[in-house]
């Protein structure tokens, strides 16, 4: 390795994950942190820690200058951006390159290209990869109406600069479209600094299937797919590898298309191509590429045996891809559930606070990637992900049984978490049968609200009366 010191420009469980991979490669680690994260697990585990600013992300984890200064001060020669924050910011990647440091990820040009969702659709079309029917690039309101005449309602209005489920509006008829289009443009301008919009057909009852790829700029392999159809407010809640329903020929086709597209842009590093899959027809449509490590990467690691973070770092160090496609196979089934500091009995109200006791599940086929330790106070300033419980089983039924066993062992005392939700999901007939799509979970939650309230009752739940979550304000970072 020519990299000696790796700076982690992120926080939380992914910072811990990166430190672990770096240490196994013999690297020294430098963790940057905000004033709210001085007691974080990542800070404790790293060889060195550098404070970069006050709690708000805009002043710390999104502060490019402060991060580069920390790299200079600590003698780091590479930076890993994790997910969210600056991980898909081409200006950051470029600044790291300009500073003569290694950015653990693709070239800034690639991030810029694939980060613009319209440019990514063009790249997909050029590589022969199907995209959701919609406009050829950004459109005005009148152009959009012409497109809608061909594709029909319902449609999605999407921000060209959006991503990760952000900047999307759904219109079911012309009146709704005329009302939402100007609003969507103003919002996109405020949130992303770019009001340009494009139109896509809403694929109903679609499943979310995504393909993990690894490339070194010349060679490129896929590590098969993950399925992340269980979502709430477009945020993934439960992820699996392989997909519960994808048939072998469809799997080969979707993975081959991902390789073709990533290869066509000379992709380097770990990346994920997201698709909507229409179970009824077997059609799949490319939606976007994430040019970074993803939250749910461990399910791929458990079924393929590949350490994706290790591969990312060695590729960034200049090594050629060690893996050939024929070396990569899927064995068994893995499931990841997100343990968030949210109260499912109370409208998923965020619940920061002090962890009084922690018991981490163990035993065969169980992994828990977390930022927690007993006595840790979870700050309110960042997203609610506390940890990811990941299990492996010989088949899907075995994985679900292990998940239930591991959830039973997991104890996070002092704060409310989404553990009761996952208990209930693991028992749900549709989940066990693999019968779900991207909008399944929200309707299931409506139907099972009483049951979730019961599961969470009598535990001193914080009152959420009169509280309504609002998403009107610009959200920063952590879009993943």
């Amino acid at each position: 390795m020519s990299i000696r010191t790796l700076l982690i420009a992120n926080r939380g469980e992914i910072a811990v994950r990166i430190i672990r991979a770096a240490r196994e490669l013999g690297l020294r680690t430098v963790q940057v942190y905000s004033a709210a994260d001085a007691q974080s697990l990542a800070v404790r585990l790293a060889d060195e820690a550098v404070e970069i600013g006050p709690p708000p992300s805009a002043k710390s984890y999104l502060n490019i200058e402060a991060i580069l200064a920390a790299a200079r001060q600590s003698g780091a020669d590479a930076i890993h951006p994790g997910y969210g924050f600056l991980s898909e910011n081409p200006r950051f990647a470029h600044a790291v390159e300009q500073a003569g440091l290694v950015f653990v990820g693709p070239h800034s040009h690639t991030i810029r290209l694939m980060g613009n969702k319209v440019a990514a659709r063009f790249a997909a079309a050029k590589a022969g990869v199907p995209t959701v029917p919609g406009s050829d690039g950004v459109v005005s309101e009148s152009e959009a109406k012409n497109v809608i005449e061909t594709i029909g309602f319902p449609i999605m209005i999407k921000a060209a600069a959006g991503g990760g489920g952000r900047g999307i509006r759904v219109a079911h008829d012309l009146a709704e479209f005329e009302r939402l289009m100007p609003m969507a443009s103003a919002e996109a301008k405020a949130a992303f600094g770019d009001g340009e919009l494009y139109i896509e057909k809403l694929v109903d009852r679609a499943r979310h299937v995504e393909v993990q790829v690894l490339g070194d700029g010349d060679n490129l392999v896929h590590c098969y797919e993950r399925e992340c159809s269980m979502q709430r407010r477009r945020q993934k809640v439960w992820e699996e590898a392989p997909s519960a329903i994808l048939e072998a020929d469809r799997r080969e086709a979707i993975c081959a298309s991902a390789v073709a597209l990533a290869k066509s842009v000379g992709y380097r590093g770990a990346g994920t191509l997201e698709y909507l899959y229409d179970e009824a027809t077997g059609d799949f449509f490319f939606i976007e590429m994430n040019t970074r490590i993803q939250v749910e990467h461990p399910v791929t690691e458990l079924v393929t045996g590949i350490d994706l973070l290790r591969e990312m770092i060695t590729i960034a160090d200049g090594a050629s891809l060690r893996l050939r496609q024929e070396d990569i196979a899927v064995r068994g089934h893995a499931i990841e559930v997100r343990i968030n500091a949210e109260d499912p009995a109370n409208g998923f109200l965020p619940h920061p606070g002090k962890v009084e006791r922690l018991h981490v599940p163990g035993g065969p086929g169980v992994r828990f990637d977390t930022l927690l330790y007993a006595g840790y106070t979870i700050p309110p300033f960042y997203d609610s992900l506390l940890g990811k419980l990941i299990v492996w089983g010989e088949d899907r039924a075995h994985a679900i049984a292990r998940l239930q066993r591991a959830l039973h062992e997991l104890e996070v005392a002092g704060v409310k978490t989404t553990k009761p939700l996952h208990h209930a999901l693991a028992e749900a007939e549709d989940v066990r049968a693999g019968k779900f799509h991207t909008r399944w979970l929200e309707s299931w939650l409506d139907e099972n609200a009483a049951r979730l309230q019961e599961a969470g009752s009598g535990l001193g739940s914080r009152s959420g009366a009169g509280l309504a979550a609002t998403r009107t304000r610009q959200e920063e970072g952590q879009g993943r």
């Binding site: 965020p350 309110p380 009169g466 309504a468 998403r471 009107t472």
Partner: protein
């Protein structure tokens, strides 16, 4: 006239504006009706509206814009 406080039900960061670049929901000296939004609390990347639970006159904002707050901390002093 009696005094009353509007408290934050959640810990997090307090915002007086719906989004950067927009005017504040309320100013000192403004009248509020029950249910009026006086600010937002951001907790774990989610924004919650803080509403007045009674009508009154805003005497003072007790918390600065973008300042960290605790659950139960008073945000607004009201004359009711």
């Amino acid at each position: 006239m009696a005094s009353k406080e509007i408290v934050s039900p959640l810990p997090g960061t307090f915002f007086r504006r719906p989004s950067p670049g927009k005017p504040p929901y309320k100013e000192e000296g403004d009248r509020v009706a029950a249910g009026d939004v006086v600010g937002l609390v951001e907790v774990m990347k989610t924004f919650y509206e803080v509403k007045a639970d009674t009508a009154g006159l805003i005497v003072k904002f007790l918390v600065e814009n973008e300042a960290p707050i605790q659950a139960g901390e008073a945000i607004v002093a009201l004359d009711v």
